[in-house]
C-alpha cells in the first residue's frame, strides 16, 4: 500500500466496516467495540497522514486518480491540501467521539446504528478529500442518507418533521448544485477540480453558493436548523453542527472561491452581508433560545456566518482564520453537544426553565462546561479567539465595518454562552435536576476530555493550523491560483 492510498483507506475503511457490521451477526458489545475500534483506526491513519504531510509543498498530497465515468471525464480523484487535512482530522476525531458516545449510551438496534455512523464517517471524509466535482457531489449527498435514518430512528419526538425539513432544504440546494455541476463540467470538458479552469459564470457561482449556504447555514437558509439540531440524538447533532455544517464553508473555500474568483468578488458584498446577518441574527437567536441545544445550534449558525466573513474577506488573514475557526468551532460544538446529551440524560430535558444548579456536587461537569464555554466565547488565549481575531483582522482589511459587525458577534457570543453556563450550572436547582443525578462518568469524560485537550492544544499553538493550512502560507495566492 502506498502512502497516497491512505486517503482512500480513510473513506472506505469505515464503509467496509459498516457493511461488515450489517452482515455479521455480532452482539451489541462486539458491534460497538468494532465501530469504536474502526473510528480510532481512522484517527490513527489520519495522524500518520499528518505526520507525513509536507506543509511546505504546494499542490495536492496523498492523491489518487482513477477514471470513473470515462466518456464524460469524471474521475475518482481524491487527495488532500493542508486545510483539507485539518478538516479530515476534525471529522475523524469528532466521529470517534460520537461513535464512542453512541456506544456509551447503548443505542437501540446497535448494528443499524453503528453501521450508519460509520457510513457517515466515510461520506464526510469523502467530501473533504474529493477533487472531482461529481465525486464531491456524490459524497455531499451520501452524507444525507445515513443522517436521515439516524435522526429519523433515534431522534426525539418530533423527529419525522425534522428529517423531512432537513432533507428537502439541503437537497433543494444540492440538486441545483448538480445542475450547475453538469453545466460547468460539460462546458469545460472536465469535472476535475484541480485541472478544471476558472469560470466567470455568475449563475453557476450562485447555484454552488446556494447549496453551501443552506448547508452552513447562512441567513436566511437556516429553516431546517432548529428542528434538526433539537430532534437528532445528541451525538448526531454534534456531527451535524461540528462537522457536516463545515462541508458548507469548505465548499465555499474549495469550489466557490477557487473556481469562480470573478463572480465571488462580484458578489462579495452580498455574501459578506449574509454572513454578517447569520452572525448577528444567529447570536440573537442563541441568546433567546430556551434550551441548551437551541443555544448551541444557533451559535453554530453564527459561527458559520463568521467563517463565511473570513473566507469572503478574501484576505490572507481571513482565510487562515476561517480554517482555524472551522476546526476550533467544530471541536467546541461537538463537545458542547455531547455535554448537552449528558445533561439531558440526567434531567430528561434541555430547557433552561427546568435546569439549574447542576454545578453543585458535579465538579467534572461544571469544569468541562465552563472550559468549553470559555473557549467558545473567544476569551483571549483560546483557539476560538485566535480564529476569530484572524477573521476580524482579515475583514478589517476589507472594510472596517465588517470587522465591527464581527466584533459585535463576539460580544453576543459572550452573552449567550454565559447565559447558558449560568442557566445550567448555577442559579437555583431546577425542577428537572435530581439531587442524586450523577456527575460525568469516566466514560463520558473519556469522550469529551480529549476534544477539550485538542482545543487547549490549539489554544496554545493556533499557528499549528493557521500557519499550516495553505501552501507557502500564502492563502490568497493558493486560492486564486486554484490549488494547483
Amino acid at each position: 500500500m502506498t502512502a497516497s492510498s491512505l486517503t482512500s483507506v480513510l473513506i472506505w475503511l469505515p464503509v467496509a466496516a459498516a457493511i461488515a457490521i450489517w452482515i455479521l451477526p455480532l452482539s451489541r458489545y462486539a458491534t460497538g467495540s468494532l465501530a469504536v475500534l474502526v473510528s480510532l483506526a481512522e484517527v490513527g491513519i489520519w495522524i500518520e497522514q499528518a505526520a507525513r504531510f509536507d506543509f511546505g509543498g504546494s499542490g495536492l498530497q496523498f492523491s489518487e486518480k482513477v477514471p470513473w465515468i470515462k466518456d464524460l471525464h469524471v474521475s475518482y480523484h481524491v487527495g488532500e491540501y493542508a486545510f483539507s487535512l485539518w478538516l479530515v482530522g476534525l471529522t475523524v476525531v469528532a466521529m470517534a467521539a460520537c461513535v464512542g458516545y453512541g456506544f456509551w449510551v447503548g443505542r437501540d438496534r446497535p448494528r443499524a446504528y453503528f453501521g450508519l455512523m460509520l457510513m457517515l464517517t466515510g461520506a464526510t471524509v469523502g467530501v473533504f478529500v474529493a477533487q472531482d466535482l461529481l465525486l464531491f457531489y456524490a459524497f455531499f449527498e451520501a452524507m444525507l442518507i445515513p443522517l436521515y435514518v439516524l435522526i429519523g430512528v433515534w431522534g426525539g419526538a418530533a423527529r419525522l418533521g425534522a428529517t423531512i425539513k432537513l432533507l428537502i432544504y439541503t437537497m433543494a440546494g444540492s440538486l441545483i448544485m448538480l445542475a450547475a455541476i453538469v453545466v460547468y463540467g460539460l462546458k469545460v470538458g472536465t469535472f476535475d477540480l484541480v485541472t478544471g479552469p476558472v469560470s466567470t459564470s455568475r449563475w453557476l457561482f450562485l447555484a454552488f453558493m446556494l447549496a453551501f449556504a443552506i448547508k452552513a447555514p447562512l441567513f436566511p437558509f437556516h429553516g431546517w436548523l432548529p428542528d434538526a439540531y433539537r430532534e437528532a440524538p445528541p451525538e448526531v447533532t454534534a456531527v451535524l453542527s461540528g462537522v457536516i455544517a463545515k462541508a458548507g464553508t469548505y465548499g465555499m473555500l474549495r469550489i466557490a472561491l477557487s473556481t469562480f474568483p470573478d463572480p465571488a468578488s462580484y458578489y462579495r458584498t452580498v455574501v459578506l452581508a449574509l454572513g454578517a446577518a447569520a452572525l448577528v441574527y444567529g447570536s440573537l437567536l442563541a441568546f433567546r433560545a430556551p434550551d441548551f441545544r437551541g443555544v448551541v445550534a444557533y451559535s453554530s449558525m453564527a459561527q458559520s456566518g463568521l467563517i463565511t466573513i473570513g473566507l469572503f474577506s478574501g484576505t490572507d488573514l481571513g482565510f487562515d482564520g476561517a480554517v482555524l475557526q472551522m476546526v476550533a468551532h467544530g471541536l467546541v460544538s461537538v463537545s458542547l453537544f455531547l455535554v448537552a446529551g449528558a445533561v439531558e440524560r440526567r434531567t430528561t430535558t434541555g430547557e433552561f426553565a427546568r435546569l439549574g444548579g447542576m454545578a453543585k456536587g458535579r465538579p467534572a461537569l461544571a469544569t468541562l462546561l465552563v472550559t468549553i464555554g470559555v473557549i467558545s466565547l473567544a476569551v483571549p488565549g483560546s483557539a476560538s479567539f485566535a480564529g476569530e481575531f484572524l477573521i476580524l483582522a482579515g475583514a478589517y482589511q476589507r472594510a472596517w465595518w465588517w470587522a465591527a459587525i464581527g466584533a459585535s458577534g463576539i460580544v453576543l457570543a459572550a452573552m449567550y454562552m454565559l447565559r447558558l453556563i449560568s442557566a445550567v450550572l448555577h442559579e437555583a436547582r431546577g425542577p428537572a435536576v435530581q439531587e442524586e443525578a450523577l456527575d460525568l462518568r469516566p466514560g463520558e469524560l473519556a469522550l469529551v476530555v480529549p476534544l477539550v485537550a485538542a482545543l487547549l492544544v490549539l489554544s496554545v499553538w493556533p499557528a499549528g493550523i493557521s500557519h499550516h493550512s495553505f501552501a507557502g502560507d500564502e492563502p490568497s495566492t493558493a486560492v486564486v491560483e486554484h490549488f494547483r
Partner: protein, 484 residues
Amino acid sequence: MIATPHVDWFSISTVLVLLGACGIALLSAVLVPQPWRRPFAATVAGLGSLGGLITSVWLYVDSASGHRVIGDAFYRDRWTALAQAILCATTLATVLVGAEQIREHEAEFFALLLASAAGMTFFVGAANLMTMFLSLEWFSIALYILCAIEYNQEGSLEAGLKYLVVGSFGSAALLFGSALVYGATNRIGFAEIASAAHPHDLLLVLGLAMIVAGLAFKSSAAPFHMWTPDVYEGAPTTVTAFMSSATKVAAFALMVRVLRTAFPQETHLWSWAFAGIAVASLVIGNFAALVQRDVKRLLAYSSISHAGFILIGVASGTALGGRAVLFYLVPYSAMAFGSFAIVAARERELGTAVTLDNLAGFGWERPFLGVALWFFMFGFAGLPLGGGFVGKFYVFAAAYDHGWTWLVIVGVLATLVSLYYYLGVVRAIYMRPSAELAVAGGSPPRDALLHVAVGAALVVSVGSLFAVSPLITLAKHAASAIPF
C-alpha cells in the same frame, strides 16, 4: 413465387430459446402432475431465461458490425443484444420471484412470462413496421393475460381488462401511425423510410405522431399513463415487477432505434415532442405519487416519473442520449423490479394490499428486504446509493449537451419533489412503530428465491454506481449500431 429469405438462426437464438422454454412450460401444464408442476415449470423458465441471457451475451460479442437479417426484418447488432440481455436478466429474476409467489396456474404463468419475454426480445430488434407491430402485440397479449392470471383475486381481472382495452388503444395508434408512414413513403423498413421520406410531409408527421403516442402508451409516459397505476395495482405483484422493468426496457430501446433510424429528418419535431412528454411525465408522475398511500400505486407513479427521466435522454436524440437511456435502464430496471418484489413479499406476509401504513416496521422485521428497499428508494431519488444517481447525471448531461438547460432544471426540480415520497417509504419502514400492525399470523414466509432476486437487483443497482465505465462502454458499443 415469393423468395424465401436466408434465415440467420443465430440472430434470433435468444427469441427461440425463450420460445422453446415457453412451449415446454406450457406442455407441463397437462403432462406434469400437479405436485411437480411448479418446480418443473419454474426450472424450465429459469433455464430458458438463463439460456436467453447466454445467447444474447454471445450475440453481443459476435455482432460487432450490426446488420439486418432475415429479409431485412430484424437487426442483429449490439443494441438488440444488450437490450435482450437486460430483458433476459429481468425475466430470470421474475422467475425466481414467481416460483414462490405464484400459487395457481403456475405452468401457464411461466409459459406466458417466457412468451412475453420472447416477444420483447424480438421487439427490440424489429427492423420494420411489420415486425415492430407484430412483436408488440406478441408480448402485449401475453402481458394482458398475465395481469389477469389470478382472476379470482380482487383487481387482477380488472387490471387485465383495463390493460387490454387501453393497451389495444395504444397498439391501434401505433398500427395506424405505421399505416400512415407506409402511405407516405411506400416503405416498411426503418432505414428505407428515412431515405424515402420527403421533408415536412404532413402524412409522415401524422404517422410519426401516432407511433410516438403508441410507444408512449407502452412506456407509460404521461399523458398516456392513465392505465399504469390501476394495472400495476391490480396485477399480481410479480407481474407488476416484470412489467415495470422489462416493458420499459423494451419500449425505450425500440423507441430510440425507430426514431433515429426511421425519422432522423424529423429530429427537431420528435425531440420537442418527447421533451414535452418527458416534462408531462415528470410533473404528473411526481405530483400524483405524493398523495398515494398504496405502495404499488406509489411505485407506479414513480415509474411514470422515471419514464420522464429516460425520455429526457431520448429527446436529446444524440449518441450521448442513447447511451444515457441504455445506462439508465440498467439500475432503473433493477430497482423497479427489486422494489416490487419486496412489495410482493410483504403482500404475501400480510395477505392484503401494502400501504404506507402497514409497511410500518418492515425494515426491522425483515432486515435484508428493508435495507434493500432503503437502497432502492434512495436510488430512485437519485441519491448516490446506486446507479440511479449516475443515470440521472447522464440524462441531464445529454439534455445539456443538446442545449436544453431548462430541461436539466425541470429534471432537478422533479427529483426534489420525488424525494418526498421516496423518503416517505423509508420513513414507513424504519421510523414508525410496528405495534399497530395486524400481521396475517404465523412467521413470515421464507421467500429464499425472492431474497436471491432482490439481492441480485441490489448488486446491480449498487454495482452500476461503481462500474460506470464498463457499463458505458457496453452501451457505447451498442449505441454505435444506431445512426446518431
